[in-house]
């Protein structure tokens, strides 16, 4: 998206650094001030005579107003605003980020690159390029945490979550699982290898990948018999999947957005959302396809594109089923290549 032209990629780590330390200095000053004042009072106004009664002043409206408004207006609002800005930077990947898929399970991290390379408890990425991770868990909740990059995101079962980073310098960085996930939670660690672009290219070549992720997905598509029903001429008894990704699909009783989660659900739980005009005949693949293979299938379906740039739909409404079955003109069954 234009908002995220490469030049504007926020340097999350740098921004974090100065924000964090600005807060340390600010809060440190206030805290030291309060502590100093307490000690000063304790000493300066110590009781000298056991019967003494000091002046009984107990209220000062201007003072109250000052210390209500001062922190709020000067500190709290600024902290909120900057914290939120930084958060949105962390949460929204730039459009040109390279996708890597991550599957978490008790207690390891599995990564799959678009090129087909797979790794366990390590992740190789090029320096200076934004990388977007699409993550899912096979069991409990985990959390992908790279302290050096100042990023963290919980990895949920049955749902893709996203995090992105752009590492400036080559090096190795610690990867931790930060959400408690059972016995070996503290062993669910790994390394991120950030490499100079040429070194990264070399690594890719020696990676031993058997074809890209999408091509693996294509094989699976035939293996699992998807292609029997889903044909690309628009005549099968199942919807044509070309150009599906990113579309707004009409389903029984509403619309759904065909993102990764939708495709995944269509495979594992096809009856949850029935494409309008089709029968609920697709068998469930629950328990038959691993998370890794689902990712390959998704990569394949995503690649089923005519090459035209993806049309980005901005959704004003939540992607949930509603009963508002407004008929649509473009019947999905007639959808062919765009």
């Amino acid at each position: 998206m234009i908002f995220f032209a490469a030049a504007l990629i926020p340097q999350v780590r740098a921004e974090f650094q100065w924000f964090f330390w600005a807060m340390v200095i600010l809060c440190g000053t206030v805290a030291t001030g309060i502590a100093a004042f307490l000690i000063f009072c304790a000493w300066r106004f110590r009781r000298k005579d056991d019967n003494e009664l000091p002046p009984q002043n107990a209220m000062n409206i201007p003072a109250e107003i000052t210390w209500i408004l001062l922190p709020l207006l000067f500190f709290f609002i600024a902290m909120f605003a900057y914290g939120t800005k930084l958060y949105f930077d962390i949460e929204r990947p730039p459009a040109d980020a390279e996708d890597v898929y991550v599957v978490a399970k008790q207690w390891m991290w599995k990564a799959q690159h678009i090129g087909g390379e797979r790794e366990i408890n390590s992740l190789h990425v090029p320096a200076g390029r934004p990388v977007r991770l699409r993550m899912i868990s096979q069991d409990a909740i985990h959390s992908f945490f790279v302290p050096e990059f100042r990023i963290k995101q919980d990895v949920l079962p049955q749902r893709y979550t996203t995090i992105w980073f752009s590492a400036e310098h080559a090096g190795t960085y610690h990867l931790f699982c930060a959400e408690y996930c059972g016995t070996n939670h503290s062993h669910m660690t790994g390394w991120i290898y950030v490499m100079e672009p040429d070194a990264y290219q070399r690594w890719l070549q020696t990676g031993g990948a058997e074809g890209s992720l999408a091509s693996t997905g294509e094989k699976l598509f035939h293996q699992h018999g998807c292609s029997n029903c889903h044909q690309f001429n628009g005549h099968g008894r199942a919807p044509n999947l070309i150009g599906l990704y990113g579309q707004k699909v009409q389903i029984a009783g509403g619309y759904a957005l065909a993102d990764e989660d939708y495709i995944r659900e269509s495979i594992l739980n096809p009856n949850a959302k029935i494409v309008y005009g089709f029968q609920a005949i697709m068998p469930t693949y629950q328990g038959q396809i691993s998370e890794e293979d689902i990712i390959a299938l998704i990569a394949y379906i995503k690649s089923l594109d005519t090459g035209a740039p993806l049309q980005l739909t901005t959704l004003a409404a939540p992607v949930i089923e509603t009963n508002s079955a407004v008929p649509t003109k473009s019947h999905p069954a007639e959808r062919t290549t765009r």
């Binding site: 974090f16 924000f19 964090f20 807060m23 809060c27 206030v30 309060i34 307490l38 009072c41 304790a42 106004f45 110590r46 009781r47 003494e52 009664l53 000091p54 002043n57 107990a58 209220m59 000062n60 109250e64 210390w67 209500i68 922190p71 709290f76 609002i77 902290m79 909120f80 900057y82 914290g83 939120t84 930084l86 958060y87 949105f88 962390i90 008790q106 069991d139 409990a140 909740i141 945490f145 302290p147 100042r150 990023i151 963290k152 995101q153 919980d154 079962p157 749902r159 979550t161 610690h174 930060a178 959400e179 408690y180 059972g182 016995t183 070996n184 939670h185 503290s186 062993h187 949850a272």
Partner: protein, 543 residues
């Protein structure tokens, strides 16, 4: 011979010797005795939780873990969190000092529902024993937060028993809260209007509101969790269409307000100690009173700040962040008013005052690091690290426990009728303060460096700070053991306490120490404001 008899006042029947025998304690409906029952129970739970903490700190002395395997460690922090939160800190001040002093401070004979009060102790103990059963049978390893689906589908430990224990204890909280609210509304002495109430009463009132409104949600959430674990109905299981984040929402809807259950009473105690030992009315009384209510109410709107990286809506997260700053404001108001109270006062540094001042300092740091966490961009990095652990121990251990100890010392003469040894008490207050900071300050650094929490082992680069923290914990442990010993000692051998040893203003000091069974000979009539030394100048021989 004659003179010794004359020095000792004639023995009056106070609440302690009004009846005798174990049954007179187990069947009592006297709020003061029930307060003591609670005091003993929560002290036991505190030391149990403390032992878990010490074992944890020992384990973390070396990167690979010193004493236990990861499974055991996971159980340790879970059981530490559960005992400390539900069986120590939440009932700590309300059920001991609150039980004991709410009726006394408002000039009532007892709480509104004395039998309910006793029942609440039994329910609490039943919950406690159920949880102990879970612990003895082999423990729980879900973390005190019980996140699904780990707790519902993957943990192999006694999750249901522990959840049932907390579920039961929750009803004790509800009963107590209900009792306090009804009491404060309806049982005040003639003339004791809302704005004449001591701030401690306001805090307890705000606390009770939270107890009553939040705890039922926890109860139903844990019940659902148990059902899900036993029957696999799918409510939190994503494979069956459930959403684990719903569990988190419901859990934190209770547990965030619950952190204010822990700190509001502490603030109340501090608001009593500071005016007494500054001999000045609390500065900005109304501001402090209203800020308690504001915390109680706004505190219900911020729970999502525990879920910033959980996969929640960005926009919700933003609102939660903003409201978190809003709820920090009343705390700030209190801090400033406490300090202003000391200004130009007549300050006496007794042990309770040391604790109170320690509270202000440590709570400020803990609260300010809460501001770091509420800044979403920072939270992404430090959430689920030791930074969070340090944040809440600063408020809960440095803040609430310190205020609890301060309150126990402050009211000890009234509770036991004996004075505690002042010098020793000051010494151990300092020990607690130093040990505490040594234990938990390094944890801020650990968190910033990226050490995740709930780790049984850790990379070697984190060792230095962990060693410091463990060293601190040892000192802290000593700091807690010493008061236990001398307070018990003073109960038997301490000097008799006069009825108003601090020469202060509250109603609770206008009756003998220890108080008679029905608190006051005659229902007092109140014509003065709280902390009004001026009005009681003659009575207190001041000026």
């Amino acid at each position: 011979m004659m003179s010794t008899i004359a020095v000792r006042p004639p023995v009056v029947t106070d609440y302690l010797n009004a009846e005798h025998g174990i049954l007179s304690w187990l069947l009592t409906t006297d709020h003061k005795r029930i307060g003591l029952l609670y005091l003993f129970s929560i002290t036991a739970f505190f030391f149990l939780g403390g032992v878990f903490a010490l074992l944890m700190r020992l384990q973390l002395l070396v990167p690979g873990g010193l004493i236990v395997d990861p499974d055991t460690y996971n159980k340790l922090f879970t059981m530490h969190g559960i005992t400390m939160v539900w069986f120590f800190l939440i009932p700590s001040i309300p059920n001991t000092l609150g039980n004991f002093f709410i009726p006394m401070m408002i000039g009532a004979k007892d709480l509104a529902f004395p039998k309910l009060n006793l029942l609440s102790w039994y329910v609490f103990m039943l919950g406690g024993f159920t949880t102990l059963y879970a612990i003895v049978r082999g423990g729980v390893d879900t973390g005190w937060t019980f996140y699904a689906p780990f707790s519902t589908a993957y943990s192999k430990t006694y999750v249901v028993a522990a959840a049932v224990g907390i579920f039961i204890a929750g009803f004790s909280s509800i009963m107590t809260g209900l009792n306090f609210i009804a009491t404060i509304h309806r049982m005040r002495a003639p003339g004791l209007t809302w704005f004449r109430l001591p701030i401690f009463i306001w805090s307890m009132y705000a606390t009770s509101l939270i107890l009553v409104l939040a705890t039922p949600v926890l109860a139903i959430t844990l019940a659902t969790l148990g059902i899900e674990r036993i029957f696999h109905v799918g409510i939190f299981d994503p494979a069956m269409g459930g959403d684990p984040l719903l569990f988190q929402h419901l859990f934190w809807f209770y547990s965030h307000p619950a952190v204010y259950i822990m700190v509001l009473p502490a603030m109340g105690v501090v608001s009593e100690i500071i005016p007494t030992f500054s001999r000045k009315p609390l500065f900005g009384y109304k501001a402090v009173a209203f800020s308690s209510m504001a915390i109680a109410i706004v505190g219900f709107l911020v729970w999502g700040h525990h879920m910033f990286v959980a996969g929640m809506s960005l926009y919700s997260a933003m609102v939660f962040s903003f409201l978190s700053y809003l709820v920090a404001l009343p705390s700030a108001i209190k801090v400033f008013n406490w300090t202003a109270t000391m200004y130009k006062g007549s300050v006496k540094m007794t042990a309770p005052m040391l604790y109170a001042i320690g509270f202000i300092g440590v709570f400020t740091i803990g609260g300010m690091t809460g501001l770091f966490l509420a800044a979403m961009g920072i939270d992404v990095h430090v959430t689920d690290t030791y930074f969070v652990v340090a944040h809440f121990h600063y408020i809960m251990v440095g803040g609430a426990v310190m205020a609890f100890l301060g309150g126990i010392h402050y009211w000890w003469p009234k509770i036991s009728g004996k004075m505690y040894p002042e010098y020793l008490a000051q010494l151990s207050a300092l020990t607690v303060f130093l040990g505490f900071n040594l234990t938990f300050f390094p944890q801020f650094i650990l968190g910033y460096l990226g050490m995740p929490r709930r780790y049984a082992t850790y990379p070697p680069e984190f060792q230095v700070w962990n060693v410091l923290s463990t060293a601190g914990a040892t000192i802290l442990g000593v700091g807690y053991i010493v008061p236990l010993i001398y307070l018990l000692w003073s109960w038997k051998y301490g000097q008799d306490a006069p009825s108003n040893p601090w020469r202060t203003t509250g109603l609770e000091w206008k009756t003998p120490s220890p108080p008679p069974k029905h608190n006051f000979e005659n229902t007092p009539v109140v014509t003065w404001n709280a902390y009004d030394f001026e009005a009681q100048k003659e009575e207190l021989h001041l000026g």
